[in-house]
Symmetry: D3
Subunit: 274 residues, 6 copies
């Protein structure tokens, strides 16, 4: 009841074009995620919001460690509420019944993470006593996922977490206190992070600008559209350097038919190479 049932997760995400993970989440392919690292939030937004009217998939204004390391992966979502003893007892009973650690409900989720997962935590912006990870759990999360973490709340051990140079962390603040007085109410349920709505299995794209949560059925379009933009840029600059076309022919909205044909031919030949 806390960890969402795989069948329910699947029912929440019926447009998923990919395989699913054991927990029911869409499994965006590693290859697409790798290629996502070169996409900007603006390119993603253009497809998601302008193309498909998803208006609430971006969130900015983070305390952002390691801002030059792009964060990509598959979202694992979880949500907490302020502690309530009767509810806490129910949750704790369920968790222990499922064999989970009695070391803290935050570790329950971390213990399930796999390579390529990005944990997205709704801690309702709590910073003091809302520090989802410190030094040790940051190290553990990094080891399990090879990715980073997104916390609408705080972290502790700031100085030492900052030393994990390849571990991008997006949080709202830092405090030396431990996580305290909160109860986990769901894993892999729909959550809200600021102005963004996140579902389990969303493809996460974090850059210096902020984070976009990409619905899986839009991921390929986001990636290929960005790549096409970059490809055309390469082709255009090459032909300009060769003197084949003029700036006036290349630096404009749409190319003439023959240049377009040239581009497509080049693209095909390149694809063999890549």
């Amino acid at each position: 009841m806390i960890f969402n049932d795989p069948a329910r997760v699947a029912a929440l995400t019926p447009q998923n074009p990919f395989d699913r993970l054991d927990d029911g989440r869409p499994k965006a392919p590693d290859d697409l995620l790798e290629r996502l690292k070169l996409v900007t939030n603006d390119e993603a937004w253009a497809i998601i919001e302008k193309g498909h009217n998803y208006q609430f998939q971006f969130e900015g204004d983070w305390l952002h460690l390691h801002r030059d390391v792009p964060l990509v992966g598959r979202a694992v979502t979880c949500a907490f509420v302020p502690i309530r003893p009767d509810l806490h007892e129910v949750v704790q009973g369920i968790g222990l019944g499922e064999g989970r650690s009695d070391g803290g409900q935050n570790t329950w989720v971390i213990d399930t993470l796999e390579r390529g997962d990005v944990l997205v935590v709704d801690l309702f912006g709590k910073i003091r006593d809302g520090t989802f990870i410190g030094d040790n759990l940051a190290t553990a999360t990094r080891a399990r996922t090879g990715a980073g973490i997104i916390i609408d709340g705080g972290i502790r051990d700031f100085d030492r977490v900052e030393e994990l140079l390849d571990f991008p962390v997006y949080c709202r603040g830092t405090h030396p206190s431990a996580i305290y007085d909160v109860t986990l109410v769901g894993v892999n349920i729909p959550i809200r992070i600021g102005n963004a709505t996140v579902l389990p299995g969303d493809a996460v794209l974090g850059t210096r600008e902020g984070i976009t949560f990409i619905p899986p059925h839009l991921l390929e379009e986001v990636v290929t559209s960005s790549e096409e933009t970059r490809q055309r840029d390469v082709f255009g600059k090459m032909r300009l350097a060769e003197g084949t076309y003029t700036t006036g022919q290349i630096d404009r909205g749409g190319w003439a038919e023959e240049i377009e044909a040239d581009y497509r031919a080049w693209l095909t030949s390149e694809k063999g190479t890549n």
Copy 2:
């Protein structure tokens, strides 16, 4: 999957000492709710927080219509997130499949309300385009419940809703826009309203000071403790007027044994009368 299953609602609230409603919520007795109308938030807090360490059951800072009408009832909870077309389609499909109105997801919940229910809505503080009720839905909610409503979001038709003098509304603001761009993600699930955690079936107590969400298993203690305070006050003033005891004997922390006995005897005789 949107309206929580009665069995799951029951599993969330195992300490419920009362019967349950058909939807699984604890059914605090009408009599206790009626008596709750005379309790203050401070008396409730003393039992819940000081006595049982529930620290996150009160929320203040409301735009409060009809502040002199106490609000009591059984909580129906629901939560929205910013709209997300794929999720919205899933939710809409489930709702229509269950025969719910296509007039707006907010009406789904209102259509299920019964006498004594208090709807508690997590709209993440959205006011513009976050107006959960206007004139008509306020009238409908009032007719179905005979109680009021609590919205962490906005209302519209302020002037006309204010004319419903016996309908207490707690919201965060008012705007003429209609509710828009939000998706319902759960009914009768645990929700957070500001700093308070609310479960389905909580006994709601709203006064001029704010709102306390009382776990059902603590309701009777809250009510009887408040009543005892008031009874002792009546008894003490009566005996003072009769000249039986002095102020020094009555206005102190604990009464002498004989006065205590006198009080208990009076209480028994009174109970026959009431």
Copy 3:
């Protein structure tokens, strides 16, 4: 250059369907403004935003004196900036050259107000040293306009201004200081008040909920649409009382053809009476 030229004001408002005042502002007829007093902000919004896609014409969150007195009238706009001595000297020179008072740039505008005007002041939310009116200027404004005032800034003499019971004031706060360190940069220019864009001659509608600034070419539709709603309500309740129709026939989205015909006939006969 500070008071906008009448020709420019006219050029800003080419869709005005009414006569113009001497200063170029659209002159919404007194009759329409009087009828506007019965309209709610929600009815106005339905026409302006839903019907015509004007999304930024409402502003709420006011410190609102005399909230039960509706405020209607024709907007006179003005805008201030933080003082800048060189600019202030230019403005002061222009004003004195036009024969305006040396008693304060705020009085320049008040001295030009006429019956039915509603002054709308952009003071960028300044409260201390941003008190556009006190006791005396409130009295003067009330005497000249017979309406009220809207200030995105402060007022002083709160207690005494509150005694002017028929003078609705919408402001952001109160402070005993006088207006100070600001420079007037325009009268009857487009201004922004919170999230609303206001043009000179807009029909102002202020109620307990907030303020809508109605573009003149939409005023008649706003008023008549609201009236039709109210007329149908009267007719429906009358026929229900007479037992002519059932609740099921009346309390629904659209009426049957014959009831519609009955309504229109009644409306015509009523119009003779009114």
Copy 4:
């Protein structure tokens, strides 16, 4: 060391023109305080800020119970900080050594209040666990002072405190929790309440607009200046009613010499009557 020494209080307020209370505070005469009830914050500001350049003596933005009851009296100041066990032990030791109650450091100050005192409490805006008074201490404060209270923090028992209709309370919010986790660091020391600096013995003036803290040496000027304004108003209206002078002669900045003489003569004769 917590309750400031009378000699030090006197040294802080060397310009005091009045007697002193036993605790060293300036003792503004009852008569002046009574007359202060008719003064507005704006009149006080005109003398204090415009006349004497005291810019930080007013504070607005209060949750204000019983706004129609003016609050006047002599300030008793006190300040708290977030609890610190070593400091708390020091303070507690001093207090108990002075024979103060072990019921809470907030009661220490309340127990010393006298008729005409207005307690001004710096609780750094804390509301939850920052409720300086509830039902009982409000009643006690009212009984001792016959005045009201100013708290830069919270209160509890809101509904019942609101029933004390002649007890003006200025606070920042309300919460059912008790005061907790704070340490008293000084009584009758200089404190800051929002943007205002308050000294022990200041004459407090609270109205619907907010609060002015008047340095004692400026009190008489504040009161008499306000009275003269009101006297001239009475005289002017009387002479206008009698037809002695015209509106043009009376409604202007300064009166002609002969009217001024007439006024002064009337004033003298009136003073005998009053």
Copy 5:
């Protein structure tokens, strides 16, 4: 009517000591602007605020790209309001009638920029849908002006704009959305940027600390005063190194007459060299 008339711009800035640009703005000489790059905001403030009582010419708290590149230039001002269809149509009509691009009103201003201009944009702090520039317009602005840009609003394409290492951008935030739902109401009119009042042709000085908008008639004094401070520093250190004077003679408020004479002689000889 949107682009302010050159004659009106000149009338707004009568104290301008320099030539004017074709659009009427004061043309601060390139040489002075170049020398301004070494001035700090603190030195500018000392002249402008302390020396001439201009209190509202500085604004801090920016999201600041390329903080180590000083930003200097001549201000081009513009202001937007939330979109209003009738006004937008008027503005669009005027712009197209003047032959401006139909690609967005933000490009109208960018298309007029010249070398040394610094565009200052009042977008009322809007970030989502308030992104005045992205990758392309940033590149265009940089190419036209050789300077930077100041936006009281947002930018998009953050990652790529950040790659333009010599293009200082001061904005309030970043979002992947495009600029949307705003209407341009004026170019080269007086605007307010936070607490600062800006006029067309102001000399802009942006450093890590924030931005000062320097009225042209104070520019030379700002520059030479800063230079003198620096010159005296060089001279003093040189003479100390030579052993001519002691620290006590140099490190004090004013120099003795003979040192002063020595300094002035040195200064004259240096000027020939520079």
Copy 6:
């Protein structure tokens, strides 16, 4: 009366285990302060809050210059209020009577600083006109203390202060204005900095995460506990490298008795070396 009496300072800090400075402050030994540089805020918090229930000794959210330089030292506290002419005159009289500079009350405290002191200034968050130090006073503070400064207020000369690379400054903002309109009310009194309570002589620990104010009697425990953590880390890694123990033996909560004995033996031998 402004500079707290040494005897009073001592009475405020009776648990001090160290010598005292002439002004009465606890004198934490240089050696402990030096070793404190390697401690993190999280380690300090674990001792202070978890071990001894001091909950309000940490403050984050700073504008932090030179974040990589740890700040340690002995706190000198001081507090300001908004200026009040009568109080200012008293304070100024006292200060001049004590032979202090007439150059500004902020210099009074700076003039008393000694090596190892960290000045902690309560300027109630004021930034404009609240700039406690600029270029010169920063240089002076650095020269006297060899440490840094903590200001709940602003600084000026940002660019030049930032050039003092070994001088950590924690403040709330930057502005070119000078400090103005404030009055010093106490030196070495208890103060509140955000959520932290600071006493004179507290051991200050500032890192990238924020600042902990450590009560002197807890300092040694903080330092040694941190050192033990680090020692065990060194020992464990060494023995793992030597192959003496396995990861399973070392990476766990408590070590087996024989490993513990080995560790203690190594520790003793090491201590000779260090």
